[in-house]
Symmetry: C2
Subunit: 251 residues, 2 copies
């Protein structure tokens, strides 16, 4: 794996059940955290779209041009609404059919007698794809050019994510430091703005309100690829907060 | 409110904290469910993007053209990283400044002595916007053309959502019926495909694996604006499942 300065990715969640609000998505936070911590890759955009072929094709084409990697989730199972693999083949205008290695894996897993048409469908994908092995339920994910396709079920996706690593170029990890305060954002917005402006090229400062024990609080999160710059910002933030007489929470 | 056949919307989540995986998004499922149940509006796309002006502008322009409504969340607070209001004004090329009504609401809420610059910032928005009142923390959301801007904190957003209703045209509610089975998808994929194909113009059938009590199951969800068509599909699904000897779970 080569080391590169900034590597980015998009996540494409494919599934009517997430869009309709029936199912709470958990894959965005998981993939984004994993990519940053393990590969130094920053997720810059997420899209959630329905299981509609022409919409999947358009989004795969757009996102694969715009970002270093695209992680798609959902739509690679055995049912009629699983159309991700075919749509990706169409998006890249490459051949779609039974992938020999995937076919073998699934035939071994189910046994010849139980290897029905639905299960065989999971071996159909772009023929140029390489496999992302699945220790949970055999049916592999796959990488097609810079698009990595994973299943939608979080427990299965989570079990496969380490097998994506070998296909990814690593970037610089984004480090972060958080200060939690019992105050309202508008009490410290001026100070945060001044410090952010001073370090705007190196550090991103975000402020996020929370409620705890019936009180309003703010998490101030600084993020940077440079540990030194991050330390300096952290010091200045603490100084500014102390000057305002605001207590810093331990957790 | 006029009644229209199909009304759609997109959700634009603005915030580095969601993209980075630090914070688990809860607004997509909430807004999407609320829109369908209360307004008959279907969410067709979600995007999650960072707090970067040019990216917000581009997405507001794209989504507001493509969909009947856009719901943006996040970036309307008092700190330097709250740039949604200004970006929306730029996206629509309309004037940005102190909104008289919003200014009054906030001045009353904080009192003249405590109405500092950070708090005043929350009264700045496109001047053509109409307000979405906020019973939790006063700072209003706003609608600019077809874009409704709400805060990112779920509890505050949830308390404001009813105040969006008066700005929305209602569509037809999408009804759904679910059958839960202890089986694997590939056992019933053929049957689901046949029924989906027969009703493809009227009903969407989705199948979603789950784990319960250590067993693998499938939720088969049918969705339609027609209750009659939905009933027919439901009957056919039950018949097909019974023929395969699969037991239907009560919940």
């Amino acid at each position: 794996m080569k080391k590169k300065k900034k590597v980015n990715a998009a996540i494409l969640i494919i599934g009517n059940e997430i869009l309709s609000g029936r199912t709470q998505d958990k894959n965005v936070a998981f993939i984004s955290n994993w990519l940053n911590l393990n590969c130094g890759i920053t997720v810059l955009e997420v899209r959630i779209i329905p299981d509609v072929e022409k919409i999947i094709i358009k989004n795969i084409q757009d996102l694969s041009k715009k970002f270093d990697y695209v992680f798609s989730t959902g739509g690679i199972g055995p049912t009629h609404d699983d159309i991700t693999a075919k749509s990706i083949a169409k998006a890249f205008k490459v051949k779609y059919g039974f992938h020999k290695e995937a076919y073998k894996i699934l035939e071994n897993y189910y046994g010849k007698n139980k290897f029905n048409d639905g299960r065989k469908k999971m071996a159909k994908m772009p023929l140029i794809s390489k496999l992302i092995y699945n220790p949970s339920s055999a049916a592999p994910g796959f990488i097609t050019k810079n698009v990595l396709s994973l299943p939608g079920v979080p427990s299965i996706l989570n079990s496969m994510i380490e097998n994506c690593k070998k296909y990814l170029i690593r970037g610089s990890k984004v480090h972060s430091k958080t200060i939690n305060l019992f105050t309202v954002e508008s009490n410290i917005s001026k100070q945060l703005g001044l410090i952010q402006n001073k370090y705007k090229k190196f550090v991103d400062i975000g402020s996020y309100p929370f409620f705890r024990l019936g009180k309003i609080g703010v998490s101030v999160v600084s993020r940077s690829t440079s540990k030194t710059k991050l330390k300096n910002v952290h010091k200045e933030l603490i100084k500014a907060v102390n000057l305002k007489g605001i207590k810093i929470l331990k957790i």
